[in-house]
Amino acid sequence: MRPLTLKGRLSGLMALALALVITAFAIIVYQETKELFRKQADQSLTAMAGATDEVLRDSDASQWPAELSSLLPPGRHADILVRIWKDDADQAVYTSPRAAVDWKAAIASLPKPREGQSRFFSTSLGGQSYRGIWWRTASDRSINIMIAQTAKDFESELRELLGDLMWIGAAVIAAMVVVVILLVRIGLRPIHGAACQLVHIDAHNLADVAMAPQNVPGELTPFVESLRQMLNRLDEALRRQKAFIADASHELRTPVAVAKSTIQTTLAESRSADQYRQSLQETLEDLRRMEHLVDELLLLARLDEAADASPGQPVQLDHLLVELADSFSPPVAQSGGRLMCSISPAAVAGDYGQLARLFSNLLDNAWRHGPKGGTIYLTAEVQTDQVVVTVKDDGGHIPPEALSRLFERFFRVDGSRASSTGGAGLGLAIARQIVLRHGGTIQITSQPASGTQVLVTLPLTHIQDEAE
């Protein structure tokens, strides 16, 4: 299920809290009122009992009924029951006129107060609830006075109060809910504003959106800030992507332009068979260049796609490097140079084809950009948990300002795009992607005196013995 809107959630929670507070308030008011009524009733009961005790002490028994009925508030005879009896006699000394009540059962069910003390009680007599007092005189007289007063008056008042509290509470809660919804809406306006800005974002104006963190409330700052940073990262990625596509199309345009110019120039006049053959060969060369470029672009795209690749199979790196050196030695020797190797056994986890591509790119660079007839050094040595592979030439120099940009796609030290220097400037970009995918590092240093050195580290893995 979809979570509630922020507005709904805030309004609901605040309304609930208000309802609880108001209900609690109503309950307290109700309880306090009830307690107050009870206290008043108890006071009047105590007063009545005291007055009755005085009458019993001061007057003659024959006068009691008249005296006692004069004590009772006029018109309330029906509501107040009185019984007076002696400790040693079951028979009542006095019973109020209307008390058609089973006193005995009531008395038996109540705890008896000590002599000289009194006790309040709440009970049901003759189907009505009563609040009463049981007053015992001291042992010299041992008279019991029980006065019970009906509770129906204050019960009905309490009911009325309860009804009032309920509807007033409900009305207050309803009003508060409306107010809360309005307040929440006003309070959340900045979020709405920020959201409105987001509506207008598309691929072309990612970074233009004025999502300044200082324009939103403090709570939203981290959210807006991270959103802004995300937009900037997206914008940057999109920009790089666009630049990459522009570069790629540029790289493809050049060989297409050359091939097209060859064909159109050749067709412009009638030529000899040799000239046609040469044109075809040149066009083939251009096609190969395009093919190579497309391959490299695809490889880069694939390397980008699966940045978090699985570790892959164990590869015996020394075998791979020796094989590469064997294939590189003849062309290097042919151009008057030398390839010197010092390779220690090492195994890494990865993709054989990619690792071969990595080191072949590096050797190729050293051969093409190093001095003619120079020596290329290929070394691999194990250092604790990694293998360090270096490819070094003895004189090629890369200016420092170009050094930091070597791994950029399509970057070439000489700035031009001519085929004379070889590739499209993707070799090192590919090498770096492969190294990163294998959890390694790559760096290039260059000194005019000692030449250019590429240093690759790859984490070691252990090849399990087949016997195990």
């Binding site: 522009a246 345009r253 332009a257 050359v258 097209k260 110019s261 120039t265 795009r417 001519a418 085929s419």
Partner: protein
């Protein structure tokens, strides 16, 4: 007409040169980097420069800026492999006259070259008319009183150059510089040889003189411009 191509893609430059020599009858020089190209452009009187923007040593924009700063008015056709308008705009703002995006049609390139050269010599019409003589620079066809005159390549090249500057005195040195590129051997009296063969074809009876010899100064096609 003599054209300089500054393009580091060697085979593309060579193809353009071949095409322009064959199809437009231009003398063409080729340079493969910005530094050399700038030097050649400033030391030779080219009628047009075809300039790639991405060049080693000095890039195309810089070549243009320095060329214009040095007072050279030679028309420049900019070649670019990027269709980013920024590159093209910068190329034109640095003093380029026209541009083409790679890959392009060779025929279009040649047509633009012709148009730029015409404009460079202050002419708009593709047919140059000097008295009874019509020189169609697009079709490379010459007619005299409506009759087609068959000319050799070098004869046409000479006539086209003289016609572009019709009414002006053109020195022998000027003619030599605009007719020959560095690859073509020439000999000392080559101008006299081609002038006399042109005269024979255009004026076999020597009744009307189209090409005037100005003693000690050079030649002039047609009458003096008012």
């Amino acid at each position: 007409m003599r054209v300089l191509i500054v393009e580091d893609e060697v085979r593309l430059a060579r193809n353009i040169a071949t095409f322009l020599r064959e199809r437009a009858n231009y003398a063409v020089d080729v340079s493969a980097d910005g530094e050399d190209g700038l030097h050649m452009a400033t030391t030779n009187p080219y009628d047009l420069i075809i300039l790639d923007l991405m060049l080693p040593k000095i890039d195309g924009w810089n070549v243009l800026r320095r060329l214009r700063a040095g007072g050279k008015d030679t028309p420049v056709l900019v070649l670019t492999a990027r269709d980013a308008t920024g590159d093209v705009v910068r190329g034109l703002e640095e003093g380029g006259d026209d541009y083409l995006t790679k890959p392009f049609e060779m025929a279009e390139l040649a047509a633009r070259c012709k148009a730029l050269i015409r404009r460079g010599h202050g002419r708009a019409a593709p047919v140059l008319r000097i008295g009874p003589l019509d020189i169609n620079t697009s079709a490379r066809k010459v007619t005299l009183d409506g009759r087609v005159v068959a000319l050799h390549a070098m004869e046409y090249r000479l006539l086209e150059y003289l016609a572009m500057r019709a009414g002006q005195i053109v020195s022998k040195g000027d003619i030599l510089e605009h007719l020959y590129d560095f690859d073509t051997e020439n000999f000392s009296n080559v101008v006299e040889v081609y002038v006399s063969s042109l005269r024979r074809k255009l004026d076999p009876t020597s009744r009307r003189r189209l090409i005037h010899t100005i003693r000690g100064a050079g030649y002039r096609l047609g009458d003096v411009e008012p």
